[in-house]
Symmetry: C2
Subunit: 192 residues, 2 copies
DNA sequence: GTCTATAGCGTGATAGAC
DNA sequence: GTCTATCACGCTATAGAC
């Protein structure tokens, strides 16, 4: 089972570093130390290999989000902690960075990506609804919209940080998002 | 001048559709109708061609933003109108979609991208400062953070829309951003 | 200034020995 | 299950005629 795992591990790194379209099987073999035959023995080809690797990445990111969002603290504290998670900003999001690639969207790689964002959005919305129940948030707040802004701030923060080649752009962005959410709490407690 | 312009026009479309790394000169020639020699007569190679095309895209997006942000209306109205501009959400941002590509960040294509976001950020911050002066916004609002969240919401909105293959994800995101900014105005008028 | 032809290399995938 | 050798093709770039 080790060679197969090595191939997947190398693929996960390369998907992050160079994306799918520019990831050559030859380079995966070099980085993993495996031979040509192993790749095509364990997988049907490049797409199959990348999909399996991506599904592992999806599970990892999902778990990391769940630990915080479904963990301890009040709902809005958990969202704040989610926004404060350590992120390699200039490297980009391991999942979001693949989204612009047309081969990704048009292949089996699309499913785990779509699933990841849908799941994360649902979780965030659930936490926001809990915040309403607890009175942390005003009842008139549109939870799907706020959940979307939270995810978009993170994804956009990656883009801004990478474009500027400066990790602090992510911090600035997410501090801004936190401030806006805090404002929402204040507004909520004023009316509710 | 026409063949050169045709090459640039085709490149602008391909940079949007497939990105830089996956854009082959051969395909540019096909789409533009030009022959092999023309490309290497007018440009030093793929990178040079792409950089010139990207600089035109930068100018176009910049102009579109300036028309709204430096146009009529109160500062916060202008930002709202900027967030309401028509966007081909699932196609992705013509500039932001290139940011994850490593060859882009490590080449001369990085400069126009960096410049675009820096310029847009400065413009947004300027408009937010105007909003403070007019009393539309509380003095304690951190303008660099809010400017960053605005840009990130748009960039993230593109990612979410493309991941879901649904333009409405962009609308939901930007409606959320508008709602948060409106909340900021309310909070500002309460304290200022 | 534009064309066709082609170089030199890397791609994703397969063949077949071990 | 893993290896080396190799295929057919596409890539970016150049050569050289017109």
């Amino acid at each position: 089972m080790s060679t197969k795992d090595d191939l997947i591990a190398a693929t996960k790194e390369l998907l992050w570093a160079v994306g799918y379209e520019s990831m050559s099987p030859r380079r995966v073999l070099q980085e993993s130390g495996a031979g040509q035959g192993s790749l095509y023995h364990h997988f049907t080809g490049k797409e199959d290999l990348a999909r399996r690797a991506l599904e592992e990445v999806e599970a990892e990111l999902r778990q990391r989000a769940e630990e915080v969002l479904l963990g301890e603290g009040t709902p809005l504290e958990r969202i704040d902690r989610f926004l404060s998670l350590k992120r390699a900003a200039t490297r980009g999001c391991r999942i979001g960075r693949l989204v612009p690639e047309s081969e990704v969207i048009e292949s089996s790689l699309h499913a785990p990506i779509k699933r990841y964002f849908r799941h994360l959005g649902n979780m965030l919305e659930g936490v926001l609804l809990q915040a309403k129940e607890r009175g942390e948030l005003a009842a008139e707040v549109n939870t799907p919209q706020i959940a979307a802004v939270i995810m978009a701030s993170i994804q956009g923060g990656y883009i801004l940080a990478r474009a500027a080649q400066d990790d602090s752009a992510m911090t600035t962005t997410l501090d801004g998002a936190k401030a806006l959410l805090a404002q929402l709490r204040r507004a909520g407690s004023a009316t509710g």
